[in-house]
């Protein structure tokens, strides 16, 4: 029998509680059909994509947008839609199979 390393009832926190931030441990970005592509040169650092991304998939380094976290981005396209029309620093592209 394969040994199960999952926590038993005595070790689990009571009452269906999960510590914050554990979603980062699960790579959930593998079923995108389209992906956002960020153009560093066009970006004006308005941070609207960072505010609007529902999956916290906009990577920030030193207070600035530095790219997209494709391990967690689901390709919803909100960032591309909300990126100001005159800037268009994020565009959606078909995900290659």
């Amino acid at each position: 029998m394969v040994k199960d390393h999952k926590m038993g009832w005595k070790d689990l926190p009571e009452g269906d509680r999960l510590e914050a931030g554990t979603a980062a441990n699960f790579k959930t970005g593998d079923w995108r059909s389209e992906k956002p592509v960020w153009n560093k040169d066009k970006c004006i650092q308005c941070m609207i994509c960072w505010i609007d991304c529902p999956d916290s998939a906009i990577i920030i380094k030193d207070g600035k947008v530095a790219g997209i976290d494709y391990d967690h981005c689901k390709g919803c396209g909100i960032c591309a839609k909300e990126c100001p029309p005159k800037v268009r620093a994020i565009t959606m592209e078909k995900e290659k199979k």
């Binding site: 926590m7 926190p13 009571e14 009452g15 269906d16 510590e19 914050a20």
Partner: protein
Amino acid sequence: MVQTTTKNGIIVAKTGNEIMAEAMRQIAPDVVAAYPITPATEIVQIFSQFVADGLVPTEFVAVESEHSAMSACIGSSAAGARTMTGTSSQGLALMHEMLYIAAGLRLPIVVALVNRALSSPINIHGDHSDTMGSRDAGWIQIYSENSQEAYDNLIQAIRIAEKAKIPAMVTTDGFIISHCMEVVEKIPDEDVKKFIGEYKPERPLLDYKKPFSVGAIDLQDYYFEHRYQLIDAMEKAKPIVLEVAEDFKKEFNREYGFYEKYKMDDADIAIVVIGSAAGTAKVAVDDIRKKGVKAGLIKLRVFRPFPHKELAQELSNLKAVAVLDRCDSNSGAPAPLYLEVTSALYTHCKSECPKVINYVYGLGGRDIDLHHIAYVYDMLGKIKTGTQIKKVVNYVNLR
């Protein structure tokens, strides 16, 4: 003159609802979210007046339904607030899905509940169909015979729920207790506060320095373990119930346990009953004992957790037992309390079990009087001397 059982006791005349509202004022929970429903309306109505008059610092949330009431209670309790509500019948039924969530999240919400029949047909009077419908929801259930017990039980329930980390409901029989004025001995405010203590939640959601999620999806991997935690907690709630009762007796000189035994020491036949009918049954026991019948009574107070081992021990030496249910399970089989009692006897009886018969009574508030209970004891006398039980489930005062 009515004597108090404690030095500082205050004698008042209150209905069941009035005294439950008074207990809530003394408990002074952080949050009460409630929706009115007959016959429990008065509890939260009176309490909301206390809030409006500044007599209690509680945040009162008037919601749009009982489903919302329990949802708001769950949010508030998860945030770390001492939380209470009141409801009855259809209201409890509307809360049903949220009851399981409150228990699963291990939130010590306390409900002042008035037992009432379930529709259809519409009926506002007392029977136990509502709370028996949520008997497997993972809630502690404490039933009261009269206003005094309702008051004492509600105060004890706060401590039981918070220690066991399981929600609790304390019930009275609709109208029979909820609207009947009785003499009740109140405890002074400061003594209630001292008895229940300050609520210190283990892990409140508002602790932003240690953030966490509650109520996440929990599939084949962990659901079973989380539910087992609740099963284990309900088992562990038993000594907590007794511990709180013992402390209550020490402080206020009134005795409570899983059940009350009435003239059981030498009894060979007995009735097991829940709630207000126990008062009538005690008088019936006194009457029948004058004729030399060794009749006894067990009034169950705590239905969840169910004291199966203890109850079986009390009953195992009897010759015949009648279980009176103010509820039917509509199952083609006996009613809930009968099922629990016979299962307890079958599990724990060492040799011969007593014969057990089921009487369903009082649905929709139908009266049960001394003659009905005397008839049940007569039947028990016959069963004791060898009469076969032809029908297991019988219906009292049904035309």
